[in-house]
């Protein structure tokens, strides 16, 4: 149970700023995802938390104690990498027991705790085997057990599921989630897969180009993105320019009402967005935020039909029910529910 604070954490490589004044607080026992495209600084941040990389400036605090001068091996921040998982020259038991051996724990005690931990990751009796005898998913679980057995203050996972196939990934996600809950270890994992971040994390820190864009609960990234870029990363490119005046937004398609709980942007120029799954296709013009749109394209996706619409010159994507039928070029009515409209800054 460790409370983590990153304060103005910065790392430069030559002239390139990999991480720029990152401020972040991770509560005890929380599972946080560092999300972003490759090269956004998420792994660099993780390495600075372990001490494998020193920050150019700023501080890493565990339970309000500065860690910058504490060497990696004394921090208790255990990292699991995506590749080169296990020590190839050791057995599975020796791998899992490595951290305890470094602490000078008695051999019998090591064996007991290793067996216990292998049980937890559902690999009982694997201790005498060699690393190369195990499948990728099993190696992943051993690496997890090896990290957990030392009761780390902070568990850091660097793209832990990147090399696994889809089914295994799902299984591992659940395992990580349930073990993390059970042991309530403060955990950070790095991923570029937004779906994975949403499914696993209590909170997500989205980073672009070394800068933190938004740090919030998963649903906020869908319902309350902080910028066009964040919305785009979460697959929402539906944008309509407008001007906010109080509870209304003037758009080329007419005046739209907005929900009082969703008025974060000040009056003036804004971008209106509604997620593809929240736009309603209605048979007839009805009350409240109905606008005309032209069908550009429709693709049957099995569970739904993806419809591309033209809204006053902006291309919008809408998820309609699978049975939706329309002619390309046909004008239809769509409703933008006030409770789904979100306003974004223009720049």
């Amino acid at each position: 149970m460790t409370h983590v604070i990153l304060r103005d954490l910065t790392r430069r490589f030559g002239g390139v700023t990999a991480v720029d004044r990152l401020n972040l607080e991770i509560k005890s026992g929380e599972l946080v995802a560092f999300l972003g495209p490759s090269g956004c600084g998420k792994t660099t941040t993780l390495r600075m938390m372990t001490g494998l990389l020193l920050p150019t400036s700023g501080d890493v605090l565990f339970d309000n104690k500065s860690m910058v001068t504490v060497p990696t091996e004394k921090r208790g921040a255990v990292m699991v990498f995506q590749k080169h998982l296990l020590f190839p020259t050791m057995t599975i038991g020796q791998n899992v027991g490595f951290g305890l051996r470094m602490q000078g724990v008695h051999k019998r005690e090591i064996e007991r705790r290793v067996d216990e931990m292998l049980e937890l990751v559902k690999l009982p009796g694997f201790a005498p085997r060699k690393a190369h005898e195990l499948s990728g998913g099993q190696q992943q679980r051993v690496a997890l057990a090896r990290a957990l057995v030392v009761h780390p203050k902070v568990l850091l996972l660097d793209e832990p599921l990147a090399n696994l196939d889809a089914n295994l990934r799902l299984e591992m996600r659940e395992l990580i989630r349930s073990i993390q809950r059970e042991l309530s270890i403060t955990t950070v994992f790095v991923t570029h897969d937004q779906e994975e971040a949403v499914m696993l994390a209590d909170r997500i820190a989205l980073m672009f180009d070394g800068l933190l864009q938004q740090y919030a609960q998963p649903q906020d990234f869908y319902q309350r993105p902080s910028s066009v870029r964040v919305a785009h990363f979460f697959r929402n490119d539906n944008l309509l320019s407008g001007t906010r005046r109080g509870a209304e937004v003037e758009t080329p398609l007419g005046t739209l009402q907005i929900d009082p709980s969703r008025m974060q942007q000040p009056d003036g120029k804004v971008l209106v967005t509604v997620r593809p799954e929240d736009v309603q296709l209605v048979p007839n013009p009805a009350e409240g935020n109905c606008v005309e749109a032209k069908v550009l394209l429709q693709v049957y996706m099995g569970t739904h039909t993806q419809v591309q619409l033209d809204l006053a010159g902006h291309t919008w994507m809408v998820h309609s029910p699978a049975h939706f039928q329309a002619q390309v070029g046909q004008t239809i009515t769509v409703q933008l529910p006030a409770s789904s409209i979100w306003l974004l800054p223009t720049s």
């Binding site: 372990t50 001490g51 494998l52 060497p71 990696t72 091996e73 004394k74 921090r75 208790g76 921040a77 255990v78 990292m79 699991v80 990498f81 590749k83 080169h84 020590f87 190839p88 020259t89 050791m90 490595f98 951290g99 470094m102 602490q103 190369h132 690496a143 090896r146 990290a147 030392v150 850091l156």
Partner: protein, 267 residues
């Protein structure tokens, strides 16, 4: 069919490897062996008696060659291992230049380099000394150590070491439990190279040792230009023996465990 091809290949390799040694073996037990006889007309163990006698200086040469090769191997590891690691895992200014400089002793004939070094060694009073010979042997040895080990380190990466660090292992424990076992197979191959390169040095030993340091090649070479083939054959067998022994020992060690990080696969 595949099995037959594999067998034929193996037999061919053994023949090619042993063919040059077999006549030496016969020569070393012959007293008279004239063309066109298939085997010597007179047999003798005289050449071996000569090898074992102090006057041949084979024993002295053997001891010197062995101790020089061991010292050179150890020094190569001490110098080459950190260098290989730096070249494989770090980016720094002038890296390409250093990589080229390392290749130079392989490209430039040893005698050229040694002539220059001779002058310097005279000034430093390193000629005619054991340590001087060891130092000059390092010149052709270090490139092989660095080249082999940098490919090993490049394959090995730092993630396992980083993992160990975060699990509470200090720098020494990381090297002892993670790095060394990981690179061991590769290190064995590289050390075998340096040992054998040092073992086979002639010109460098001659120039820097100045005839004071007698190694096995220095005992052997005069015989090759001479007419006593029997003695030359016996000495050359003594000369080849450690090489064959080192090869067998290391390949057995490498065969037992796959050379995971060696970049060599299984030898």
């Amino acid at each position: 069919m595949q099995k037959i091809i594999r067998w034929v290949t193996m037999v061919l390799i053994v023949i090619v490897a042993l063919a040059p040694i077999l006549p030496q073996f016969v020569w070393s037990f012959s007293h008279r062996w004239l063309f066109p006889s298939l085997l010597p007309s007179e047999w003798s163990i005289e050449p071996w008696e000569y090898v074992l006698s102090p006057s041949s200086r084979v024993g002295e040469g053997f001891a010197n060659s062995l101790s020089i090769a061991v010292v050179v191997s150890v020094l190569s590891i001490l110098v080459g291992l950190p260098a290989a690691r730096a070249l494989a895992l770090h980016q720094f200014r002038g890296k390409v230049v250093i990589e080229w400089l390392l290749m130079v002793p392989i490209i430039v004939p040893g005698i050229v380099a040694t002539m220059g070094i001779h002058q310097v060694f005279i000034r430093l009073h390193l000629t005619d000394s054991f340590i001087g010979v060891c130092l000059v042997h390092l010149i052709p040895c270090i490139p092989y150590m660095v080249l082999v080990m940098s490919s090993v380190f490049a394959n090995y990466g730092t993630e396992l070491e980083d993992t160990a660090r975060t699990l509470g292992a200090g720098p020494f424990a990381v090297f002892r439990f993670v790095t060394l076992p990981g690179i061991f197979s590769g290190l064995l191959v590289a050390t075998m190279f340096t040992f054998l390169i040092s073992w086979g040095q002639y010109i460098t030993t001659l120039l820097i040792g100045g005839g004071t340091i007698i190694t096995l090649p220095m005992v052997l070479f005069p015989f090759i230009s001479g007419t006593n083939y029997s003695n030359a054959a016996a000495i050359s067998l003594v000369f080849v023996a450690p090489a064959v022994l080192v090869l067998i020992l290391t390949s057995r060690q490498l065969g037992r465990e796959s050379a995971v990080m060696g970049g060599f696969g299984k030898l």
